[in-house]
Symmetry: C2
Subunit: 191 residues, 2 copies
Amino acid sequence: MTDVRPYHHGDLRQAVLAAAVAAITEAGTAGVSLRELARRAGVSHAAPAHHFGDKAGLLTAVAAEGYDLLANALTDAQQRTGSFREVGVAYVRFAIEHRAHFEVMYRPDLYHADDPVVRAARGRAADALYSGIGSLPDGRAGQDVRLVGVAAWSLVHGFATLWLTGALPAGLGDDPETAARAVAGILFRAP
Amino acid sequence: MTDVRPYHHGDLRQAVLAAAVAAITEAGTAGVSLRELARRAGVSHAAPAHHFGDKAGLLTAVAAEGYDLLANALTDAQQRTGSFREVGVAYVRFAIEHRAHFEVMYRPDLYHADDPVVRAARGRAADALYSGIGSLPDGRAGQDVRLVGVAAWSLVHGFATLWLTGALPAGLGDDPETAARAVAGILFRAP
DNA sequence: GATGAAAACTTGACACTGCCAAGATAGCCG
DNA sequence: CGGCTATCTTGGCAGTGTCAAGTTTTCATC
């Protein structure tokens, strides 16, 4: 069912997916249309729908890819640094580097949020995020683990979305990663 | 024909604005159309555009109203409780109670974000949010005030958006205000 | 290798959208 | 009363998502 060799285009599904991510990066989620993606790929206007069912199906694929990338980024940060704070920084870095994926992921009204593939990828990302709480240095680890996790997730998620919308005040510099590390240090003292 | 409907609606601008908020609450920002709002108000399909210019103009009005409501909610919480944490809780409460406004406010690609009316209202909300940092109990107040403010804002903003998208894990109860108070307590010890 | 089924894609249509230009109507002020 | 302006209507255009039906290619099986 996957890519054996489609005939005219080669790999339309992948091409449309990549074009969608590029279009969302440039013009936001509202600036993407199936017909425009079809034009970019050089196929007829109804070809994309054949692979994704409908527009929500296309965005479902984007979301699934995003949760996969996020899970990888978080586990990588955890294994590389062993620091829960750096997992949070990796979350922010992912949001900025993969803005299109991030914007879709957290707008469940745009896609089929209970798609099994999405659910699985989201679960992996959640596990990766929570896995580092135990490695916290001192007092924090004694608190309710669930609350600490929600607080940390809220902090980095809020920071990322506020940064992306340009809502944050000036004076934080222009490197989101450095700023995120400083802000995360308010919640958890550096190790 | 003996038409009961007068040619002039009387207060179309306000009617469309209210209908837009209701429609966004029900179906999200993507589920609102000028023509549908016109139908609900019983006017022709092009009437709303006369008051708002275009769709972005309508959402600009929604955003401005939202920032006004937010500024009021935050200053009220600050004056009533004197607690910075309760200002944060009020932020979350606003996001849940005025979901439609909140969703529009933080999607600047949908409206004219540099509209002077919006800028003024946003400034009032920011002032209200930051005004309570000085009243923090202990050590926190000695840190970089800007960083503490950004951390607090990020925390409550992230919590609100995650709650609204249904991304948070179960077990936090069904009252967002109580849950927000607990999560905010991780960042700032209760007074 | 031929053949039939299935997958990939095209074509055409429908209802809907935002936006624009031009006309009709109402209230208001001299 | 007569103009004037804001308000609203009408009609049209280009664009969209989605559906149904047809066409072309690939693949599996005989």
